[in-house]
């Protein structure tokens, strides 16, 4: 064989489909053993097949597919005869009419096999060979609360589905792939599943939980980048323009842009809590990972009674938790250093919602007071345990040994920056950027509603000016805390932001933050 030719490539493709007869297969093997050019052609054909498969996974084919005659629907999933060993689909219980159909199909297949066995070797694949590779299930639908379209049939919970396009128009749908990868679709989403190890998220939001033995699971994206799991769970959002956003929930993932010729960047590896966007073909970590709530407390107008406070951060996991007022007497006042701020009194406080925080967190705020007391500056006591309570003299936590109470040095009538940070099982307090006191051990989740400026239940309300209260669901680094304490913005400019924030102008920063509602990280 001096050169590759269509006929031999066609045989390779037919072998790939399992469509060769026994004699044809034997002839192929003989040819491969005898002919070096055939071996080169064989490997090249398989490699090219794989490359085309990958490219086409993320290519749209508008127009052409629609103009193509429809292919008859494949049999219902329950009648697919091929299942991977060790995998028992929930819906693999054959109904009586399916059993009869299967017997009939088996007879047909036996007949075809006999026919094939009698066929002589030809240089082209056998005409009329029964296709022995019907669709294999790749996913089981666990739950669907929305309008879900699946390949080859109806969306039945517990049923198994083959490769194809999955479209959710609303609500939520959860699948488990045959490699035990869990896929949660949320809202209007289109996902193309060709293999359990590789999917294409065309639009919408999908969360993937990948078991360790499925490391390498890949999500292809419209911008031709792909995300590779390294043993973790992560969420990917693709907007209408095909722009993707990645959030790592546990473990780590690699985001690779090398599918685009103009992106020679190395893949970035992101860890839990990190978020990234694709910017100019390069995956770029976002500047504000884990920022889940930010109350600038500059709602105003000056002199007005406080009726609530705006949380300017919002995303699907952490909907805006605008604070409501409890009690009365709190007002908006103009401060010479920080502009409009919250003046909280012994008769009022703000109540904000929970932020769904289960592990690490960071609270940050500015305070100006001369009150040295056990009254709550910020805390989540009340209603449920456990809790944390930050005061001007200490930090108390439920079911832990309270630290030796000390004067944090903030009750001197000047502005001070306070931070509570949980990292692992330890909670620490930072004043003006430096850690103070002894960290407190915690051993459980803390997810009760936040109180700002006081605690109605216990009547522990501090008299103070408060500003720029923010919550992260990650433990901020010491450097980031120091930057906040030195006047740095709560919301950092994203890498694609064209305007630098004005550090000196806090009002402008808050306005910019409001403009980013829904794009926190």
């Amino acid at each position: 064989m001096s050169d590759r030719n269509h006929e031999f490539d066609a045989i390779v493709l037919a072998w790939r489909d399992g469509a060769l007869g026994d004699e044809e297969f034997a002839a192929l093997q003989e040819r491969l053993l005898a002919d070096e050019a055939a071996r080169a052609a064989f490997t090249a054909a398989l490699y090219r097949h794989r490359q085309i498969q990958r490219v086409m996974l993320v290519e749209d084919a508008p127009g052409i597919l629609e103009a193509t005659p429809e292919v008859p629907d494949d049999p219902q999933p329950e009648s697919y005869p091929i299942y991977r060993k060790g995998y028992e689909p929930a819906a693999n219980r054959m109904r009586p009419h399916h059993a009869l159909a299967a017997i009939a199909a088996a007879l047909v297949i036996v007949g075809v096999v006999v026919t094939i066995a009698l066929r002589s070797w030809d240089t082209t694949p056998s005409e009329g060979t029964e296709d022995p590779t019907p669709p294999v299930p790749v996913a089981t639908l666990i739950e669907s609360t929305g309008d879900l379209t699946v390949p080859h049939g109806y969306a039945d919970e517990g049923a198994d589905y083959a490769a194809g396009d999955y479209a959710l128009s609303s609500g939520r749908a959860q699948f488990v792939l045959t490699n035990r990868v869990t896929v949660d679709l949320q809202g209007e989403t289109r996902l193309r599943m060709h293999h359990p190890g590789s999917v294409y998220l065309e639009k919408g939001q999908a969360e993937f939980k990948v078991p360790k033995d499925a490391t390498g699971f890949t999500v292809h994206l419209p911008d031709r980048s792909h995300i590779v799991d390294l043993g973790t769970s992560f969420r990917v959002e693709v907007d209408e323009e095909g722009r993707a956003k990645l959030r790592v929930l546990e473990g780590s993932v690699a985001w690779n842009a090398t599918d685009t010729a103009d992106a020679k960047a190395e893949p970035i590896v992101l860890v839990a809590g990190q978020t990234a966007l694709m910017i100019d073909g390069v995956p770029t970590p976002t500047a504000n990972p884990g920022l889940v709530a930010y109350w600038p407390l500059d709602d105003g107008p000056t002199g007005a009674t406080v009726t609530g406070a705006d949380d300017v951060i919002d995303d699907p996991d952490h909907p805006a938790t605008d604070a409501t007022v409890e009690g009365e007497g709190d007002t908006w006042v103009e401060d010479a250093d920080r502009g409009i701020v919250l003046s909280t009194t012994a008769t009022g406080n703000l109540l904000a919602g929970t932020q769904g925080i289960r592990g690490d967190f960071t609270w940050s705020l500015w305070i100006k007071t001369d009150e040295l007391s056990h009254h709550v500056v910020m805390g989540n006591r009340g209603g449920s345990n456990p809790w944390n309570k930050l005061t001007t003299v200490g930090l108390n936590s439920w079911a832990t040994v309270a630290p030796p109470e000390s004067d944090f040095g903030v009750a001197d009538g000047d502005w001070h920056h306070m931070v509570v940070r949980r990292a692992g099982d330890s909670v620490a307090v930072y004043i003006d950027g430096s850690p103070v006191g002894k960290p407190v051990k915690v051993d459980s989740e803390q997810n009760a509603p936040l109180h700002i400026g006081g605690d109605k239940i216990f009547g522990e309300r501090v008299t103070a000016l408060l500003s720029d209260v923010a919550v992260w669901d990650v433990a901020l680094t010491d450097d980031r805390i120091a930057a906040l304490a030195s006047g740095g913005p709560v919301v950092l400019p994203e890498p694609n932001a064209t305007e630098e924030p004005t550090l000196e102008d806090r009002d402008q920063q808050a306005n910019q933050s409001r403009q980013r509602v829904g794009d926190k990280d």
Binding site: H6, D9, I11, V12, L13, A14, G18, F25, Q29, L32, L33, T43, A44, A45, L46, Y47, R50, Q51, I52, R54, V55, M56, I64, L65, T68, P69, V71, P72, I82, R84, K85, G86, T124, P125, E127, G128, E130, D131, T133, V138, A163, N179, G197, S198, D213, T215, F217, H226, V228, L230, A254, T258, T260, A261, D262, A263, K264, E266, P267, V269
Partner: protein
Amino acid sequence: MTLSRQDIVRIGLGEQDRLLAYIFAIVHDDHIAEDVFQETFALAVEKTERIHDAEHLVRWLRVTARNKSKEALRTRAKSPQVLDDAVIDSLEPHWDAIDTDAHSAQIAALRHCMKQLTPNLRKYIELRYTKGLSGKALAEATGRPLNTAYTSVARAHRTLEKCIRARLEEGHDNQGADHV
């Protein structure tokens, strides 16, 4: 010297297409091939200390993938058209001959060349790879004989290969300036 985890990921992803094709040649089943690839990749990421350099990684991936493929064939339902060991052995040097260094450029060229296909060949490629149709289903969908369906896809492959080679030789996709 060992490779970092990031190096493993980068090189491993560059090898993905060749390795998956290699595994498929052994196991003759796309799903098993994906599983074996994932197991191999996971092991490489986990055992970075075993990998000395890029060349070693490529060899290690190949050997590990072959071992795991054999293991999969022992424990799972086996396709009747799995190639003999002697054939697999004879293919080994040809996998080495596939150039994966220009992987990104090849993919970019492939995308460009896909658009150069005649509408008829492109239709075959799209049906085969977007809808995942086998030769028989392809023949049914297009109303053409089975031989024609396979030969058309093969012709499209060959046309793409020529186009990719020409494009790479011209240096189009090495810089990515005219990426389509």
